[in-house]
């Protein structure tokens, strides 16, 4: 049986009294591109952050490429991962944030090669070459020595994508990657993401960009109030949403 690259089983997460995820079951296959849509507060960002263990789930399990996130199964028991183990598992999952989160004290190239050098101990020369290649791929070959403050939003986000790719992840998580961008800069980032998808990367994307969802994603998942209300093939779900809440949401976004 073809096991999915990502398997989320009965995920529950609360912040204080607020229950943000109320039983999420999700499976994403290798090479699949899945888009998650939903109103704000529906738990989409929290779900992403649980997948790479930036948040710890209260109940449920998340498997990425067969590895249980945050724990190890030892003799039928669950043993909490050490910090090093968590970091190691995270290294194969890339994440792109809404606010870019580039390191302001490093150049574009510096941002991209920092993690490979520090975490994977890649020699500087090799990391440098790889960094240049990745930045060229996202169309920023002429901005290697620029600092984030000198780049436009779209450029910064593309550096962020290159930075995440530098760790050669099996999975890429995108948390509303274009929401903080001026409209005319959105296209260049979506283009970079499309190229990534065509290359075969497994991607989970939280976004409001329905055009991207329809053209690039295989499946769309609609979340509301901490549960998955509906999911289906992207073109179908957009054309024929089954659920009332899905219809309401789509009518506002499309």
């Amino acid at each position: 049986m073809n096991e999915g690259l990502v398997r989320c089983i009965d995920i529950h997460k609360r912040f204080g009294k607020l229950e943000v995820l109320r039983g999420i079951n999700l499976e994403v296959g290798r090479g699949e591109v899945v888009v998650i849509i939903g109103p704000s507060g529906s738990g989409k960002t929290t779900l992403l952050r649980c997948i790479n263990h930036l948040e710890v789930v209260d109940k449920g399990r998340i498997y990425v490429d067969g590895e249980l996130m945050g724990y190890q199964e030892v003799n039928g028991h669950l043993k909490e991962d050490s910090e090093r183990e968590v970091a190691r598992k995270r290294a194969s999952i890339g994440m792109v944030f809404q606010r870019f989160n580039l390191f302001p004290h490093l150049t574009a190239l510096g941002n991209v090669i920092e993690a490979p050098i520090q975490v994977k101990k890649v020699p500087r020369k090799e990391a440098d070459a790889m960094g240049r290649e990745l930045l060229a791929k996202v169309g920023l070959a002429d901005k290697l020595q620029a600092y984030p403050a000198q780049l436009s939003g779209g450029q910064q986000q593309r550096v962020a994508i290159a930075r995440a790719l530098a760790m050669q992840p099996k999975l890429m998580l995108f948390d509303e990657p274009t929401s903080a961008l001026d409209p005319e800069l959105v296209g260049e980032v979506l283009e970079a993401m499309r190229a990534l998808a065509l290359d075969g990367m497994t991607m989970i994307v939280v976004t409001h960009e329905m055009g991207f969802a329809r053209e690039v994603a295989e499946r769309i998942i609609f979340m509301d109030e901490g549960v998955i209300v509906e999911e289906g093939l992207s073109k179908e779900l957009i054309a024929n949403p089954q659920h009332q809440r899905t219809q309401t949401f789509l009518s506002k976004v499309l």
Binding site: L54, R88, I93, L102, L106, V119, A149
Partner: protein, 250 residues
């Protein structure tokens, strides 16, 4: 008419007097070494304080609590006279000089204040930075070293400059354990020569010179740390260097 008794020549005499200069050197050494100790230990304490491990953050908290709550004079007396009474070991007593006790005490005391300053600096870095570092597979310590602390430095430097200036002036308190630094050297010479105002002027002069020189260095450090910012601050030094370097012949 008002008769003002102030002899400028005396000031001149004592300005470069060897006893005064020696004391100035002592003051600078103590202040610098104590600051180095204080900053190094302070940063470590700050990282401990923001740790999610309650034992680690608790220990650091205890340290800060004790060293901030007690007056530095008391700490000096405890560390020097107190320990000398407590530890009946010849090797210790021979090597625990007043000077060394002063440096260590000032350093340990300073670390408590630096811990809070560094902690403020760390907290000032937005949480997204840690998220990004962690999502790339960095451990907490790697993220601290490579991402958080370099950014925290910009916020840490100005109040640290303040601390150094305060430290410089605080060294005068070391007289409590018999260390003769600048202020007290001046005081002693004033008493010996019946020239109170002149000697204190000499002391004031040297404090001003040291703090002024330090301020120039601090501004330059801040300028260099503003890497990647759109507007880099211009300092006296950088402007001076631009004039000397760029516009020769004008």
């Amino acid at each position: 008419m008002l008769a003002i008794r102030f002899d400028l020549d005396t000031v001149g005499d004592f300005l470069f007097d060897p006893i005064i200069l020696e004391a100035l050197r002592e003051t600078l050494y103590i202040a610098l070494l104590a600051m180095v100790l204080g900053i190094a230990l302070g940063v470590i304490l700050a990282v401990m304080r923001v740790s999610r491990n309650p034992l680690v953050s608790g220990m650091a908290g205890l340290y800060v609590w004790f060293w901030r709550a007690t007056p530095v004079v008391l700490q000096l007396l405890l560390m020097y006279f107190g320990l000398r009474q407590l530890i009946e070991n010849d090797f210790f007593r021979d090597n625990w000089t007043r000077w060394r006790a002063a440096v260590i005490t000032f350093g340990l005391n300073e670390a408590a204040y630096m811990a809070e300053i560094a902690r403020a600096g760390i907290l000032s870095v937005e949480s997204g930075q840690m998220d990004a570092a962690k999502s790339l597979g960095m451990t907490n310590l790697q993220a601290m070293r490579r991402v958080i602390l370099p950014q925290a430095l910009r916020v840490i430097v100005p109040p640290t400059g303040n601390e150094f200036v305060a430290m410089l002036k605080n060294t005068s308190v070391a007289f409590a354990i018999g260390v003769v630094e600048l202020l007290n050297a001046a005081k002693i010479q004033a008493a010996r020569n019946f020239r109170v105002m002149e000697l204190y002027t000499v002391a004031a002069f040297w404090y001003l010179v040291v703090v002024s020189a330090f301020s120039v260095l601090q501004a330059e450090l801040e300028r260099r740390l503003a890497v990647g910012e759109r507007e880099r601050p211009e300092t006296l030094l950088s402007r001076a260097m631009a004039v000397l370097g760029g516009r020769r012949g004008i």
